[in-house]
C-alpha cells in the first residue's frame, strides 16, 4: 500500500502509519447551511475526515454530496457516503463524477437502511446494485477509467474507497467473509458499525488478522459514546444489527446522578485506548450522533490531538 490512489488526507494519514481518527456529521433536515457549519466547526482540526451521511435511517436530508462540498469550503475533508437505496446505476455514476469534481476524495459505499424505517415509507426502493457491486464500480471507474458498461471516462474519479462492516450482525460466522469480499471488491478502508461488545469485536478482528485482511485494507473501529441509559436501551432494542451487552447498560445505570454521559464517554475512551493497541485496527471512526460539540473533548482526552499533517 504505497502509491496513493487518491489525494485524500485520510489515505495519506493511514499510509503514513498514523492511527486515523474520523468523525461523522448528518446533514440538516433542510437547507440550514449555518447549522451544518456550526456542527462542522466542532470537528475541524480534531479528525482526519468527516463522514457525511446519505439520508441516514431513510430520512430525507440535504444531499450528502452537497453537504460534503460545503465541508470542503470550510476546510474539512468529507467522507461522502452513498447508499444504493435511492439511486440506480446511472445516478450513482453521475453523482460519483459530480462528487469528485467538487473536490470529494473519500467515498463510503453502503446498501442503506430500508426506506420502511424512514419518513417516506411509501417510496419505491431502487437497489439496482448492492453495496458490494458499488465498491467494485467505484474501483472500476477509478482504476480502469471505465463506466460500468465499459465505456471510457474522460478524467476518472480518483477516490479512496470505503465500505462498512458490521461485526455484530448475524450470521456472525459469515461477517468476516463478507468483509473479505468487500476488500476483494476494492475497499481501501472499512469503518465498522458502533462497537459495544468488545469480546465479539476482539474475536472478529482476530479472524480478520488471521485471514490477512488487515494487510490489504485499513480497518477503523466504530465508536459511539452513550449519552444516557435510554440511548443504550434504544440501541440495544431498536437499532438493527446493534449488540449492546447488559454489562454496559448496568455500568451506565450505576453512574452517579448527572454522570451517565461522562460514564459513556469514559467507556468510549477505554475502547479507543484498546483499539490503538489492537492488532489490525488502523484507526477509530467516532460517530458522536448529535453530539458533535463533544468531539473536541473526546479527541483531546483520547490523546488523538493534534491530528497529523501529511
Amino acid at each position: 500500500m504505497s502509491d496513493f490512489k487518491s489525494e485524500s488526507n485520510l489515505e495519506k494519514v493511514l499510509k503514513a502509519g498514523h492511527f486515523a481518527f474520523t468523525g461523522e456529521c448528518g446533514p440538516p433536515k433542510g437547507a440550514n447551511v449555518e447549522h451544518l457549519k456550526e456542527k462542522i466547526s466542532f470537528l475541524k482540526g480534531n479528525v482526519d475526515a468527516v463522514n457525511i451521511t446519505d439520508n441516514q435511517t431513510a430520512v430525507v436530508r440535504m444531499s450528502s454530496c452537497a453537504a460534503s462540498a460545503i465541508l470542503i469550503k470550510e476546510g474539512v475533508e468529507p467522507n461522502f457516503q452513498m447508499v444504493c437505496r435511492d439511486r440506480n446505476r446511472l445516478a450513482i455514476m453521475s453523482d460519483i463524477l459530480g462528487a469528485y469534481s467538487l473536490g470529494i476524495r473519500n467515498m463510503l459505499c453502503l446498501s442503506g437502511d430500508h426506506q420502511r424505517f424512514g419518513n417516506h415509507p411509501e417510496a419505491k426502493n431502487v437497489y439496482d446494485i448492492d453495496s458490494m457491486q458499488l465498491i467494485a464500480l467505484v474501483k472500476k471507474m477509478r482504476d480502469e477509467g471505465k463506466f460500468m458498461n465499459g465505456e471510457d471516462i474522460d478524467v476518472p474519479p480518483r477516490l479512496f474507497i470505503g465500505a462498512a462492516s458490521n461485526p455484530f450482525a448475524e450470521p456472525f460466522e459469515f461477517r468476516v467473509h463478507r468483509l473479505a469480499k468487500k476488500i476483494n471488491a476494492g475497499a481501501d478502508f472499512i469503518q465498522t458499525q458502533c462497537i459495544y461488545n468488545m469480546d465479539k469485536f476482539r474475536e472478529f478482528m482476530k479472524r480478520a488478522v488471521d485471514m490477512g485482511l488487515t494487510e490489504r485494507c485499513y480497518i477503523l473501529a466504530g465508536v459511539t459514546p452513550m449519552k444516557s441509559v435510554g440511548m443504550a436501551r434504544y440501541m440495544a432494542d431498536s437499532v438493527p444489527g446493534m449488540d449492546v451487552p447488559d454489562q454496559l447498560i448496568n455500568r451506565l445505570k450505576g453512574a452517579a446522578k448527572g454522570k451517565v454521559a461522562e460514564e459513556g464517554v469514559k467507556f468510549a475512551l477505554e475502547q479507543i485506548a484498546e483499539f490503538r493497541e489492537m492488532k489490525g485496527v488502523a484507526g477509530v471512526h467516532l460517530m458522536a450522533i448529535e453530539w458533535e460539540h463533544k468531539v473536541p473533548e473526546i479527541a483531546e482526552r483520547a490523546g488523538m490531538l493534534p491530528r497529523p499533517k501529511v
Partner: protein
C-alpha cells in the same frame, strides 16, 4: 401461483355506485387456489353486495359467473352473449382478468375486486408468501433454491446486509432474512465458499425495468 387479496367491500361498493345490475366473474386459476376469486368467493361477494345494497335501501341485481381462466381469450369469449346485459362487471381474477375482459369487450366497464400482490405459494393453511419477483433471469441455483431478488428487502445479490438480526430482516420481525437462511444452508452443507464469489450487477432488462414484456414462442405462433 399469482397471489391476490380481496379489496375491502366499501371500495368495491364505491366502484359500482349508481349501478343496479352487476355481473361478478371469478376465475378458476390462481385466485381460486389462493381462496380469493373462485366460485366460493364470487358467491360471498355477490351476497355481501346484495345485503349492503338492501341495508342502504336500494335493490341491486348481482349475477355470478366463474370462468376457467381469465388470462385466455378462449375463455373470455364464453361471456360474449351476456356481457352487455349488465351495467358493469366485477372481475375477481388477478390484474390480468379485468384487462383481458376490457380488451375483448371495450364497451363494457370492468372493475377489479382484488389487489394482485405477488408470485408465491401457501406456506401453511391461510398464509401465502412471496417467492418470485418475475425478474426474467432466474438465479436461485446460486443461492440453494432461495431467491434474494424476491425475498431480500433490498434484492441484495451479495448479502446479508448489516440489518440482519436473529434471522429476521431489518424491516420487520415478521419477515425472514433470506440471506440468513442462505448462509446457514451453505454452512450446513459445507459450501460457504460459493458465497465468497462476487455476484455482478444484474441486468434488469429482462425484468419489468426493461419495459412491458412479451414472450414469443415461434413454434406456437400460427
Amino acid at each position: 401461483m399469482i397471489v391476490a387479496d380481496r379489496k375491502p367491500l366499501s371500495e368495491i361498493q364505491d366502484m359500482i355506485k349508481g349501478r343496479d345490475n352487476i355481473l361478478i366473474i371469478g376465475c378458476k386459476g390462481c385466485v381460486t387456489v389462493c381462496n380469493v376469486g373462485g366460485l366460493k368467493e364470487v358467491r360471498i361477494l355477490a351476497s355481501s353486495l346484495r345485503i349492503a345494497a338492501k341495508k342502504e335501501g336500494y335493490s341491486l341485481k348481482v349475477d355470478e359467473k366463474v370462468l376457467e381462466r381469465q388470462c385466455d381469450p378462449e375463455y373470455i369469449e364464453q361471456v360474449k352473449s351476456t356481457i352487455h346485459d349488465y351495467d358493469a362487471v366485477i372481475s375477481m381474477a388477478c390484474g390480468v382478468g379485468p384487462q383481458f375482459l376490457s380488451e375483448a369487450y371495450p364497451d363494457q366497464k370492468f372493475f377489479p375486486a382484488v389487489n394482485t400482490t405477488f408470485f408465491g405459494g401457501a406456506v401453511s393453511h391461510g398464509i401465502w408468501e412471496e417467492r418470485c419477483a418475475g425478474c426474467g433471469t432466474c438465479v436461485i441455483h446460486y443461492f440453494d433454491g432461495m431467491c434474494p431478488v424476491a425475498r431480500c428487502s433490498k434484492s441484495l445479490l451479495n448479502g446479508p446486509c448489516g440489518g440482519s438480526n436473529k434471522g429476521k430482516c431489518e424491516i420487520s420481525k415478521d419477515v425472514n432474512c433470506i440471506w440468513d437462511m442462505i448462509v446457514k444452508k451453505k454452512i450446513e452443507q459445507d459450501r460457504l465458499n460459493d458465497l465468497l464469489n462476487f455476484m455482478p450487477a444484474k441486468d434488469w432488462r429482462t425484468a419489468r425495468d426493461g419495459g412491458p414484456r412479451t414472450s414469443r414462442r415461434e413454434e406456437l405462433i400460427q
